[in-house]
Symmetry: none
Subunit: 208 residues, 4 copies
DNA sequence: AATGAATGAGCATTCATTCAT
DNA sequence: TATGAATGAATGCTCATTCAT
């Protein structure tokens, strides 16, 4: 009986945690981590300020959880694409375009997850997240190297560079795209840039 | 006489401004813009809080000034290298390695100048600064395309990508390098990655 | 149960608000709005600075509230007298003497409410307050004109003038009365001055 | 020789004082005493901040001087009119309309001189200024009482009330006139209101 | 377990006044 | 005498965290 009650309690507690995290994710989606305060979160979740501290030690660890959940969703999406069928070249291209498109369409969230300084705890986790991303890209790159589709290179650098390019080109401006290109054209450009470097494929039939 | 006095005064004032800016730069070098408060700056410079406001309207414009001074130093260095002699390939390579090396050695400052959100005024200036960087790289890239050393491509994307790669790989971690590589090796890797994409040169005699 | 708790909480919150407002009123009574600072108020109420902001958005809205509460008390008193029985002449006379007496006895508060510049929000409210005052006086004046007790005239001007006279004669000096007259005599003078103008009644049996 | 030099110096000093006072008057004309700072005044006069303190002990006494000069100009104008020829009724009427017109046309200055809280020193002087005004009005009123044009009354109250009415009706709103009346009509109304009370003259041929 | 009121350190900014040159 | 750079106390406001109920 007691055990069961505890079980129930635990489940309830976990549900509350998730609710809080989801609400927090919503907040960072629209205003970044800056807009996330304990008070606004509590209000949003319909609970008291003090209650938040029953589920999270302090704001830093709340942010950490929020960061983890949000990034894991992104990671899973990219991971799915990467594990799909197709040549490494195709799969890497798809991963890059997907990542790019998501970055454009959730620019504020992408900015928060990739750039926004939050606290040392999160910064450390961000390194892990970047590593995870890199690992996904790296896996494809390694396969491509093995199949001779890609040239020999530092897979760590290549994977990290992809993130850097997309972040710099699409996320950090937190603004409009160059209107010289459509979204599709721009994403295609980015893909080509990355693949030229990794696959060392000379592009043809492209005119600027 | 009066003229001289004014001259002297102006020089003195400019000297004090510079002192403050330098002290501020020191602060952002070790703790980023976050650690820069008017009080800490005043204390650091051995003056009163109110005195800071004799030299700067408000904190926002102080930050702007600090940002400008620090970035202009960086820009000038890269610009010098870019305008030197050598083929576009050589010059772009040199620019990339120089930028990389400086980023590694003043990581906290590089982070502050490239990433740290400060205030809208600085963010606008940052766009200019990024454009200036891109323009330097773009100039070489355009020359390279004209001399057929580089392939046809979006020079805007290429230039921006360079900044993104270096930022992501070297600056954002705000941490140690992968110990697999020496600093020199890593920088060489970055250069190769960028040049492969821009010059589409197949690397040879490289072993990983 | 929950409902009750909310009720209680609300009542408590309202009580605290009132406490703060009352403390603030006390402060303006002795030193005007100038002497009212968030810190002094907090200290006076025995709470922390931050707590004040649980009850009021900002200092401006606190001042507005304080202003409203204090003026509404004054308005209600004058209004009661004005709606009482008696001829317009009698009622207007009573309203003027009551207003005068209160102005004398809470000179600093009267000054704060009528003259002291505070902030745009309060200035706007002050216009409303003056309008409300004028309306009370105007209502009696209009009745008096209808009953031919008062002559035809600009009721707006007449009502405003009453406030002006009392303010100038009793409030603004922020000092002692002419010792030539007793308080009662002086108030009687003011009443006669106003009524002569409004009712155009030639006074008789008065000796100076 | 020394004596002469001192003379010259004194004259020079006096000239500087006047320059400063005039500049200060200009400032309060456009922005009230609030806008008058030692720094803005020094800049306006083309001298150093510290120099201002060679001519005035402190800001309070500067304000006092400025207040005195500005009010004395106003007083002189009203005084001229009051000492002119005509019956007391005519002269009082003229004084009231002149005062009113000046108040409307220099509302900001009128506000500063009549209402704006500055400092205890000035507040005391303001009482003198009001007394001076009252004295001018009083003189006419006393003459009118002697000539039986005006009824017996407290001349102090009557004189003060005039100031109060004009201040309340024209100055304090620091805004537009009721658009029901033209400026001339409104001033005429005010005159009539005052004269009805003081001269106890039943107005005729007026329609509202 | 939940509440939510209370905390208080921390920061940008203003301006009359001083004093060494 | 004139300068003007320097002073520093004072104030409104924020928000993560605590704790009595």
């Amino acid at each position: 009986m007691v055990y069961k009650a505890t079980e129930k309690t635990k489940a309830h507690k976990q549900a509350r945690r998730l609710l809080l995290i989801n609400k927090a994710v919503s907040q960072i989606k629209s205003g970044g981590f800056t807009s996330l305060t304990i008070e606004s979160l509590a209000q949003d979740a319909g609970i008291a300020v003090g209650t938040v501290y029953k589920y999270f030690d302090c704001k830093a660890s709340l942010c950490l959880e929020v960061f983890k959940v949000a990034t894991e969703i992104e990671l899973a999406i990219i991971n799915d694409i990467s594990s799909g069928c197709g040549t490494p070249n195709e799969r890497l291209g798809k991963a890059i375009t997907t990542f790019s498109r998501r970055a454009i369409h959730s620019q504020q969230q992408a900015f928060a997850l990739i750039f926004e300084p939050i606290n040392p705890l999160v910064e450390m986790e961000r390194l892990n997240y970047r590593k995870a991303y890199a690992l996904i890209f790296e896996k494809i790159i390694i396969e491509g190297i093995e199949s001779k589709e890609f040239i020999e290179q530092s897979t760590y650098l290549a994977a990290t560079a992809i993130v850097g390019i997309i972040a710099e080109v699409l996320v950090r401006p937190l603004s409009q795209l160059e209107n010289k290109y459509t979204e599709d054209q721009f994403i295609e450009e980015i893909k080509q840039f990355c693949l030229r470097s990794i696959a060392c494929s000379t592009p043809y039939n492209k005119h600027y």
